[in-house]
């Protein structure tokens, strides 16, 4: 099964590497190489500079929305504070810049493809929301981005991982581990996810939110920014 992890200028390295390593470990150690994991970009094969001290990763192919499987969208890393009017390249600025690239129409196409599951870590969901792709969808992003996510017409849900069917999103940076472990669990069953957890000396936390079963009588409000 293809797993395409999307790189863009200013991406957060851990948002990419955490799911990458979970998928690679699951595939190589426990799934007989069932996964074909690639770093991709909307612009094709290129070196892509992250938002963390210029750390660079190489995309080896173009993002292909027609490839059945999983597409993972990371968030950005950069300053949290600062005035964009004074030139500060804050995380929302980097995400909005990504949301204005050719990646968004490609991901929109993937979201219409029933054979593709789109996943996002941290600010990745916020970028998709800025691009207008998450209207009415149940999603989470980094805690700092929740009020903005809500303002885009998406339904912001306070959970570490939110499963909205063909769209699975996770919160802040480290939740990329939980996201990929959950996707291994969902696609291949709990024994594979458990085996990777053992190898990584890491256990997922929290309950994956899904719009199923009985809804709570009241939902705790998300604090304003």
């Amino acid at each position: 099964m293809p797993v395409q992890i999307v790189l863009f200028d200013g991406f957060d390295p851990l948002d990419v590497i955490a799911p990458f390593e979970v998928f690679v470990a699951g595939s190589e150690y426990f799934l007989d190489n069932a996964l074909d994991i690639a770093l991709v970009s909307a612009e094709g094969a290129r070196d892509v500079v992250s938002g963390s001290q210029g750390l660079t990763l190489r995309a080896t192919a173009s993002l292909d929305p027609h490839r059945p499987g999983i597409i993972v969208v990371p968030g950005a890393s950069g300053p949290v504070d600062g005035d964009p009017d004074q030139g500060a390249e804050t995380i929302p600025v980097l995400l909005a810049r990504f949301a204005a690239t050719g990646a968004i129409p490609l991901i929109a196409e993937a979201m219409h493809n029933p054979d593709v599951l789109v996943a996002a870590v941290c600010g990745g969901s916020l970028a998709l929301a800025m691009g207008g792709l998450l209207e009415g969808r149940n999603v989470v992003t980094h805690a700092l981005g929740m009020p903005l996510l809500d303002a885009t017409g998406a339904t912001a849900v306070n959970a570490r991982v939110v499963d909205d069917g063909d769209l699975v999103t996770a919160g802040g940076v480290t939740s990329g581990l939980d996201l990929a472990l959950y996707l291994l669990d969902r696609q291949f069953g709990p024994r594979i996810a458990h085996a990777v957890e053992g190898l990584f000396e890491y256990e997922r936390r929290g309950t994956v939110w899904r719009a199923e079963g009985t809804a709570p009588a009241t939902v705790p409000a998300i604090p304003a920014a």
Binding site: D83, P84, D85, T90, P92, V93, A96, A99, A100, A129, M130, G131, G132, E135, P147, L148, D150, A151, T152, G153, I222, A224, A225
Partner: protein
């Protein structure tokens, strides 16, 4: 004629920086309607309400934009002659300052 009628250029702060948009308001049979034009997109304003206050004519509305990013916005401005000032709010984000001036279309 309602004092908001005509054309205005507004500036508002968003999480990705200040954005500028042109607004057109008109009145027909006592009903005021408005349109915002910004970043190559025209958006009809909803829940548009005008009222007189001791500080001047006050106008509130909502609008949904998709450019430069998808946002649900609420505006609350007060007119002073050829300028207006007030606040806008995106969802539950903190309110930010809006300023505007009348322009000749």
């Amino acid at each position: 004629m309602n004092p908001i009628c005509g054309d205005w250029r507004l500036q508002m702060k968003t999480p990705i920086g200040t954005i500028e948009a042109d607004y057109h308001f008109e009145e027909h049979d006592g009903v005021v309607t408005g349109t915002a034009n910004g970043a190559g997109e025209a958006v009809a304003l909803t829940d548009l309400v005008t009222r007189d206050t001791p500080d001047g004519p006050r106008v509130t509305w909502r609008q949904q934009i998709t450019r430069p990013l998808r946002l649900n916005l609420e505006y609350d401005v007060t007119i002073t002659g050829g300028t207006l000032a007030g606040e806008s709010r995106a969802g539950r984000l903190p309110r930010t300052r809006v300023t505007g001036r009348r322009i000749t279309a």
